[in-house]
């Protein structure tokens, strides 16, 4: 068995222990572990840095399978006999990281978180970070700068050893299961790729990718690229940036914007109502104004008509007067001839009649007129008796006569 081909294995040292002659450990990766042993003599020859071989160290080991037959107290076992160990360099880690990155990308796990809706104003956020560290302080400062003062639920976890990845994954899952939490921040300061290796853990990254709560990663500095950055909804270079990503809304600016919006609404409301009110008032005044205008026009017409009619009347009167004068004069002229004839005829008839009644004419026919001394006619026997003496007027002259009362008749 010891003649089998030598191979190199890559993994993380766990469960390191030492006996008098050997060092025992497990070489672990995401899929499992291999029990390993190295003779202390071989280990010393490697001249690893002090504490180079320790739990959590990423190493590349060379060796091959070996078998321990056991004894009265110990059970037999197969294990990997390491003859060479070196600490994994950036190159080893990067190669592993790239392979894992391609695998997760191919599975579409980079997109899942990025498709989640992120609230602009979460009321509660969860944060996974080290209890003591600048990341915690920087994140809080960033949140305060945005004017955000909601609820932060801290889930403190180790961020740099082999316990880190499972602890972080567990914390993230617990936070995601807390109903109030609307977004989760995973924050850690900068470091070497080996320091940040926990954030490249496949299980952790798969856990983050499958969460339905958005995760904002703020691991390391700008130049550091961990796998959790790829699967998270947003990757930030610093905790301060993470504060802006987890609360996208600048609360100070939002308050100012709301004040402006409220003012716009007030202006719009008042403006619309005001302009329409003015329009309505103008419309309401319209009929009155129109009536006044009509009344004025009517009065004007009335005055004109009156003036016109007075003028017309005067003219008509004058005309009528002229007409009457003309008619009268014409009538007078017309009447003048006939009237004169009539009058002449009437005069003639009157004259005839008058002449017929004239006492002298009667006297001419033989009658006599008795008159008293005063010349008044005496027309009755009684008057003659009373007069005693009368004057008898004949056509050819008068004579006095004594009334004989005895000779009276009647």
């Amino acid at each position: 068995m010891r003649r089998r081909a030598r191979v190199s294995l890559f993994g993380e040292v766990t469960s390191l222990s030492r006996s008098k002659a050997q060092a025992y450990f497990e070489l672990r990766d995401a899929e499992g572990a291999v029990p390993c042993a190295i003779w202390l003599n071989d280990l010393e020859k490697l001249e690893l840095p002090e504490q180079g071989l320790r739990d959590g160290a990423e190493v590349v080991i060379g060796g091959g399978p070996d078998y321990y037959p056991g004894n009265g107290q110990a059970s037999p076992s197969f294990f990997f006999r390491a003859t060479h160990i070196r600490l994994a360099g950036e190159g080893d880690l990067l190669a592993r990281l790239e392979a894992l990155r391609e695998q997760l990308r191919a599975e579409g796990l980079f997109e899942l978180q990025k498709q989640l809706a992120r609230p602009r104003l979460p009321k509660a956020i969860g944060v996974v970070t080290a209890e003591s560290g600048a990341a915690r302080r920087d994140l809080l400062a960033g949140l305060r700068r945005r004017g955000w003062a909601g609820t932060v639920i801290w889930a403190f976890a180790p961020v740099q050893d082999r316990r880190a990845a499972p602890a972080i994954a567990g914390a993230i899952q617990e936070l995601a299961a807390t109903p109030a939490v609307e977004a989760i921040v995973v924050a850690r300061g900068g470091g070497s790729l080996a320091d940040l290796w926990a954030f490249c853990d496949e299980t952790l990254c798969r856990t983050v990718a499958m969460l339905r709560v958005p995760v904002i990663s703020a691991v390391g500095h700008e130049r550091d690229s961990t796998l959790i950055d790829d699967v998270a909804a947003v990757a930030c270079s610093t905790p301060t940036h993470a504060a802006e990503a987890v609360v996208p809304l600048d609360c100070h600016a939002a308050r100012s914007a709301l004040t402006r919006s409220a003012a716009s609404l007030r202006r719009a409301g008042e403006g619309t109502v005001g302009s329409r009110s003015r329009h309505l008032v103008a419309l309401a005044r319209g009929p009155a104004r129109a009536l006044r205008r009509e009344r004025i026009a009517l009065n004007q017409k009335t005055r004109e008509i009156r003036a016109s009619s007075e003028r017309g009347l005067a003219e008509r009167r004058a005309f009528q007067r002229r007409l009457a004068a003309v008619v009268l004069s014409r009538a007078a002229r017309r009447a003048a001839g006939a009237e004169a004839n009539n009058r002449r005829e009437a005069l003639r008839r009157a004259e005839v009649a008058f002449r017929a009644h004239e006492p002298e004419h009667t006297l001419e026919r033989g009658y006599a007129l008795a008159e008293d001394v005063a010349g008044e006619p005496v027309t009755s026997a009684a008057a003659a008796i009373a007069a005693g003496r009368v004057r008898l007027r004949f056509a050819d002259g008068g004579v006095g006569a004594e009334i004989d009362r005895d000779g009276s008749e009647g």
């Binding site: 602009r120 969860g126 003062a149 889930a155």
Partner: protein, 76 residues
Amino acid sequence: MSEQPESYEAAVERLEQIIDRLDSGQAGLRETLELCREGRELVTYCVTELDAVGEGLKELQLDELAAKLETTPTES
């Protein structure tokens, strides 16, 4: 409020639409008054939401929260 907005961002988006519409001057009187009413409700909602995250940062620890939940008797 006639209908609670789905979220702060939905409220702000609707508010911006309303202000754009009002600024266009094309809304009639009835629509303007209705938009103003809706806008005022949205502003009130947004201010309430901002107030909810503006009255002092509260810090809780997940472990303590979990412990508290575990000790809380389950409602039957």
